[in-house]
Amino acid sequence: MASDSKIAKPKLKLAVYWASSCGGCCVSVLDTHEKLLDIVAAADPVFWPIAMDIKYHDVEAMEDQSIDLTLFNGAVRNSENRHMARVLRDKSKILVAYGACAGMGGIPGLANFFTKEDLFRRVYDDSESTVNPDRIRPMPVSEVPEGTLEIPGFFNRVYALDQVVEVDYYIPGCPPQSERLIEVFTAVVTGANLPPKGSVVGAGEKTNCEDCLRIKSENKKVSRFYRPWEIQEDKKSCFLEQGIICMGPATRSGCGVRCVAGNSPCRGCYGPPSTTDDAGARMMAAISSMIDSDQPETIDEAVSTIADPGGLFYRFSLPASILEKP
């Protein structure tokens, strides 16, 4: 309390919101550990559903542009997500797409391989644990004796945040590394020169391979691919050279190659590097060039060892891919 009076500048107002997300991004803000105390010393959280009890109508009542920085995580899956995206856009000076879901659609975006009808059929009719003889489906509006009930409308597809409202910056990652958040936050607080609008911040420009410490050779040819559980990898050489698909060549650096350091191949959560806008297409070109064959049959065999190319190459980026971008 005493330190408050020493701060000459008015404290920043900070909002963190989750839309269609798992909550990991909000936890990554808490994962700043004791630095969180510095964050709250410099900024007042005014809206943060995981940590504070503030209602939507309180946010709606705020003045436009009254929040200095909003970290919006999660994809836009339904009308509630879109409503809050619009509200927070109006209320915020800087709106950051925080994490892979807000930035590219993320894991929820994989639902775009299916239609809304496919998803509802699976969830409300076909799934093994479902008993629903009356085929009841969620309706946005339903009449009950007590009155009218409304729930958010489920969209036909999943959207990245910038497909719904204008976004100022992107902090990639699933979740973003907390160190990167502190860097960005410090830049906002100190009023340092912020990069141009639309930039990816808190990440590098190059690919993860540039930061990777695994031993790489010239020989990238393989006759088949392995899923991580199918092979005992040697813990030191490039995953790709061992036939394990690693998204490193098509993924932006900045995470510190943590997954690889933990002996797990890169999954691509930081999205494409600045040189390309579709990591999946880039990766398909790279992976196919590794197949050590000129014969259609053996190429087929190698391709057949990639069980789910869509889910693998577009794990975090389907709604923002070439095929899906509105």
Partner: protein
């Protein structure tokens, strides 16, 4: 239901494009549904190009290069073949039917074969329903 499909064809400069050129100079009649994009080598045809074509509304995409062993750059067409096989698996997963994406080898002397290829693909696609356009924007309630 019949309709007039749009086919984007990526042709390599040395064989396939020359073959298509021969079809023209030989005054062969073939379906006008194909839009040709010339690239130096079929190995240059990245998955992103094909996806972009579908994204922009192509009903079909045709990829043509030199016959195996005939590539002007020794092995660009094999590179093409490898990319194509993987891409094909992905596009089917993304809901694009197999018939809409085709790889064929056309030599510089195969004008007739190119014309027949375009005709057969046009006919096949015209009998299929139009490619379903993804819903890219929600209708406001």
């Amino acid at each position: 239901m019949n309709h007039s499909p749009t086919i984007i064809a990526f042709l390599c400069n040395w064989c396939a494009y020359t073959g298509a050129d021969l079809a023209g100079t030989s005054r062969l009649h073939y379906a006008p549904n194909v839009r040709i994009i010339r690239v130096m080598c079929s190995g240059r045809i990245e998955p992103a190009f094909v996806l972009k074509a579908f994204r922009e509304g192509a009903d079909g995409v045709l990829v043509c290069g030199c016959h195996p062993g005939d590539c002007h750059y020794q092995e660009g067409n094999y590179k093409c073949l490898r990319q194509f096989k993987l891409l094909q698996k992905f596009t089917q997963q993304a809901g694009i039917e197999k018939e809409r994406l085709r790889l064929e080898w056309i030599s510089a002397s195969e004008g007739q074969q190119f014309a027949e290829l375009v005709n057969s693909m046009t006919e096949l696609l015209s009998l299929m329903p139009r490619k379903k356009q993804k819903i890219l924007q929600e209708v406001e309630p």
